[in-house]
């Protein structure tokens, strides 16, 4: 099973509203990343949050990380129709030897639809 689990699986909102997506994971992580994917291709990196960080902002994006709960959230404020896409969280986890190669484990994603 995949490390990251996104919630909800699908989200439909009106333009201008905020969208919140959640991600839970199971093992200790080096960092957690959020990606956007349009039309089943072309993953675009949105934001990377390190395990010792709690919150990060980038434009209209706000990501939080709670390592005690093994969860993260992505907030998109003032959504636009162009934000319609699938959003994935991906964890860079430590292996049994306590190292990390940066290989990412993705969740199943949240499909966001923003209606004009």
């Amino acid at each position: 099973s995949q490390q990251g689990e996104e919630d909800p699986q699908a989200l439909s909102i009106q333009e201008g509203e905020n969208a919140t997506m959640n991600c839970s994971y199971k093992t200790s992580i080096n960092n957690l990343q959020w990606y956007r994917q349009n039309s089943g291709r072309g993953l675009v990196h949105l934001i990377l949050i390190r395990s010792n960080e709690r919150e990060k902002h980038s434009g209209r994006l706000r990501v939080t990380l709670d390592t005690s709960k093994k969860s993260s959230s992505l907030l998109i404020t003032a959504s636009r129709a162009a934000d319609t896409a699938s959003y994935f969280c991906a964890t860079d986890a430590f292996n049994a030897g306590g190292t990390s190669y940066g290989k990412l484990t993705f969740g199943q994603g949240t499909i966001l639809t923003v209606h004009p």
Partner: protein, 116 residues
């Protein structure tokens, strides 16, 4: 500069045939990753190269799958005796250093493989 490129963009083959998928990473990037994404799922890790060597091939599903990166730049993913279950989008990503350097991975557009 140019991003990650992958060729072909689409590949249709018959069950039992051999296929090669090519990835050109961003120039100078040491780390290269292959992922596979089935419909409606998040990408799944296949193999990671640090330079010319496969540092982690734990995601390759079986011995029909093999990947090389002989000169530390271009990589080829090779699938022998293809099966219908191999149908998926194969994604390649690169990053400057790898080795848990807390880096963004830059993804190519993917190769959509369909095995009939």
């Amino acid at each position: 500069g140019a991003g990650v490129s992958q060729t072909p963009s689409n590949k249709v083959t018959e069950k039992g045939k051999y296929v090669e998928l090519r990835c050109d990473p961003i120039s100078g990037h040491t780390a290269l990753y292959w992922y596979r994404q089935s419909l409606g799922q998040g990408p799944e890790f296949l193999i990671y190269f640090q330079g010319t060597g496969a540092a982690d091939d734990s995601g390759l599903p079986n011995d029909r799958f093999f990947a090389v990166r002989p000169e530390g730049s271009v990589s080829t993913l090779k699938i022998q005796r293809t099966e219908r279950g191999d149908s998926a989008v194969y994604l390649c990503a690169s990053s400057p250093l790898g080795l848990a350097a807390q880096e963004t991975q830059y993804f190519g557009p993917g190769t959509r493989l369909l095995v009939l």
